[in-house]
């Protein structure tokens, strides 16, 4: 088991550490606010923390839909576009954050940077912290351009989770990991979000490169996980397993079936994933 630097864990990293102390990887679930509509999306986020029997995600990532989501695959694009057409706004994320935070599960927001800039970096940090948010995941903001965000996240005690990739050089890996608070988001395969039949062996290699740095931060692995077996596989080496597109797909399917409020498939998938991280044979 890896030892973590408690001063840098923040609230979301602490959830990873707690899972780790229980001998398993943390489960991180993503859903965008506003799909199929704002109230249902908030209900779905709460369902992420519950699964079918009260066992669900350890951390919830809340997306804010954006018109130009260059990191996202078809499922998340489709849900995001629909949410925007239905009138979702940046400010809708705050009630979602509060609802998740009320369950005791750390709530992160994952979003493209222009939305935060437009709101005002410091203003967003203030309102987000007031809503009970734990931190931000910034897919198109790297530490290179993050001075303002680093200052605001320090001021409001928010976690900042930057992404690293298999293509990151050792030097960039070190810089990025140093800039993170909470945990490190490792993109497992080169590509956009989307469920894949197999996850890549690039993930364990990347996780071990990060650990070699002696970062003291947990490493979450994302992009590609869609079921409990894959979660078990990824959870064997990573400190956290991140699932997004597969969860969103259950909501897309429910809407396509004419029952957009039906969270049954979502809850079942969460239960499957939660059991996956619990049966992983940890390295």
């Amino acid at each position: 088991m890896t030892s973590f630097d408690e001063r840098r864990l923040g609230r979301s990293g602490a959830a990873f550490a707690a899972a780790s102390a229980a001998g398993r990887a943390a489960l991180v679930g993503y859903l965008p606010v506003g799909f199929p509509d704002v109230p249902t999306s908030v209900e779905a986020m709460v369902a992420l923390t519950e699964g079918t029997d009260g066992t669900g995600c350890d951390v919830v990532e809340i997306g804010i839909p954006y018109t130009d989501p260059v990191m996202d695959g078809v499922a998340i694009q489709r849900a995001g576009t629909a949410a925007l057409e239905r009138g979702v706004h940046t400010r809708d994320v705050f009630p979602a954050v509060s609802a998740v935070a009320a369950t005791g599960t750390p709530a992160l927001v994952m979003t493209y940077w222009n939305l935060i800039e437009r709101y005002g970096v410091r203003a967003f940090a203030r309102d987000f912290a007031a809503a009970g948010g734990a931190g931000l995941i910034t897919p198109d903001l790297t530490p290179d351009e993050a001075d303002e965000w680093c200052a605001a996240s320090d001021e409001y005690d928010l976690d900042r989770i930057f992404l690293v990739a298999p293509s990151s050089t050792d030097e960039r890996l070190a810089t990025t990991v140093r800039a993170c608070r909470g945990w490190v988001y490792a993109t497992a395969v080169m590509g956009v979000t989307g469920a894949r039949t197999e996850t890549s062996d690039a993930a364990p290699r990347l996780v071990s490169r990060i650990r070699t740095l002696g970062a003291g931060l947990p490493v979450g692995v994302g992009l590609g996980v869609s079921n409990g077996d894959q979660a078990a596989c990824v959870g064997a080496t990573a400190d956290g397993v991140i699932v997004g597109s597969a969860l969103v797909s259950t909501l897309l399917a429910a809407e396509a079936a004419g029952t957009p409020g039906d969270l049954g498939a979502l809850r079942s998938l969460v239960a499957d994933l939660a059991s996956g991280v619990r049966r992983a044979e940890r390295a």
Partner: protein
């Protein structure tokens, strides 16, 4: 240059930079390294010059258009004839340079985004020439209004992907190309067609387009013994304009004018006048002016010309606008189409609708100078960035032509 921009992080003051997924940083660093090495490599430069001359047909002429000048106050108007390049636009300048870089990096596949299809055609052309695999992303709306260019790309052996996401135009094609690149970066180079995107693209594309102003300057000095009073270009992402401006930025006596797509009029909200109406923001990996709503969502842009239909703009243009060095004004669809008709019928030169925005700008600037200073005899150089063949369908609809002959002669009664 008085100051060399961008800086080493790709910033033009506060504009530019790199707002992209970490997964692309290694490729962008590699590209920058190769580009710097190539700039300093006489062999690379010689090969590029030879391609420009013997393949693309450079230098392009500088044509004085006397009959058209009559519509421009007291101005003498000259056209920098990028429309006469191989493939019919300035896009080939950048593509040949980036194709050479692709080969230098040992990559075997190129991808590109395209609006009007001119950059896609140029990329497909270079891919054919260099034996590279090629995929071009094009908004679904644009594939419909520029069907001729879709067919040209396919003839050249490229795969054309219609992008049905979002507004189904240039910005969405760029999104899709970025998605492809994140997943394919090991063997694929993304030939961005304009001076936009993450560092080092705005700089690379400017440098490969710089030849436009370098030639113009030499041609002016050679023929007229002076610099022009102003250079004018249309601005979508802004590559032909950056090429036209680059060598004149440090000549304060030369005014720089960029003309954005005013669409149906900026007051209607249906336009692509990014600098005139946009706010600072982050889009497609750069900080620049963006047409966006109160939440920061990108607004859909509108223009009769697919090549200008883009809600962002290259970061160096944002900087030139913010510093006041260059002036940017919107030109409406109607003004551009009128200018297209006038230039075609006075000079026998049919510009692309994109370029017609700059032609309309010359009429406006020439008349304005004549009003404020009737004694002035300004020399205006317009970058005629592309030819209008691809736009005949649009012209048929706009001018109410039906493509049938005016009358019939001979034949059986």
């Amino acid at each position: 240059m008085t100051t060399r921009l961008p800086d080493d992080k790709g910033h033009f003051d506060r504009f530019g930079g790199r707002f992209v997924p970490e997964a692309l940083f290694a490729a962008l660093d590699q590209l920058e390294t190769e580009f710097r090495a190539a700039q300093a490599d006489p062999e690379f430069q010689a090969e590029l010059r030879s391609l420009q001359t013997d393949y693309a047909g450079r230098p392009s002429p500088l044509t004085e258009v006397k009959r058209f000048s009559a519509y421009c106050g007291n101005a003498t108007v000259l056209l920098k004839r990028e429309d006469l390049n191989h493939t019919g636009s300035h896009k080939i300048n950048n593509v040949l340079g980036q194709a050479l870089l692709t080969r230098r990096m040992g990559k075997t596949r190129v991808i590109a985004e395209t609006g009007a299809g001119q950059h896609g055609v140029a990329t497909a052309t270079a891919a054919a020439l260099f034996g590279l695999q090629c995929t071009v992303y094009m908004g679904e709306v644009d594939t419909q209004r520029q069907a001729l260019n879709v067919a040209r790309m396919q003839m050249l052996g490229a795969e054309v992907v219609a992008v049905a996401a979002g507004s189904r135009t240039l910005k969405d094609a760029l999104n899709e190309a970025l998605r492809d690149w994140v997943a394919s970066v090991d063997n694929t180079h993304y030939i961005i067609g304009t001076v936009a995107g993450p560092h080092p693209f705005p700089e690379i594309v400017r440098e490969f387009q710089r030849v436009i102003s370098t030639e113009t300057k030499a041609q002016m000095l050679d023929r007229y013994g002076r610099l022009p009073d102003a250079v004018l270009a249309c601005v979508g992402g802004g590559s032909n304009a950056m090429g036209m401006f680059a060598d004149f930025i440090d000549d304060p006596e030369v005014a720089l004018f960029g003309f954005e797509a005013g669409g149906e009029g900026v007051e209607t909200g249906r336009h692509a006048a990014t600098i005139t109406e946009g706010q600072e923001g982050v889009l497609h990996g750069m900080r620049t002016y963006v047409l966006q709503d109160a939440d920061g969502q990108t607004k859909e842009s509108h223009s009769i010309s697919a090549g200008l239909d883009y809600p962002g703009v290259g970061p160096e243009h944002a900087w030139l606008a913010a510093t006041g060095r260059a002036t940017y004004e919107p030109v409406t669809d109607a003004e551009a189409m009128e200018a297209l008709k006038i230039l075609t019928q006075t000079e026998g030169i049919m510009p692309a609708i994109e370029s017609a925005h700059a032609v309309a700008g010359a009429m406006r600037v020439g008349r304005r100078i004549a009003e404020t200073d009737p004694d002035a005899r300004p020399v205006l150089v317009v970058c005629l960035s592309g030819r209008g063949d691809k736009d005949v369908d649009t012209a048929i609809r706009w001018f109410g032509l039906d493509g049938s002959a005016d009358k019939t002669a001979g034949g059986a009664q």
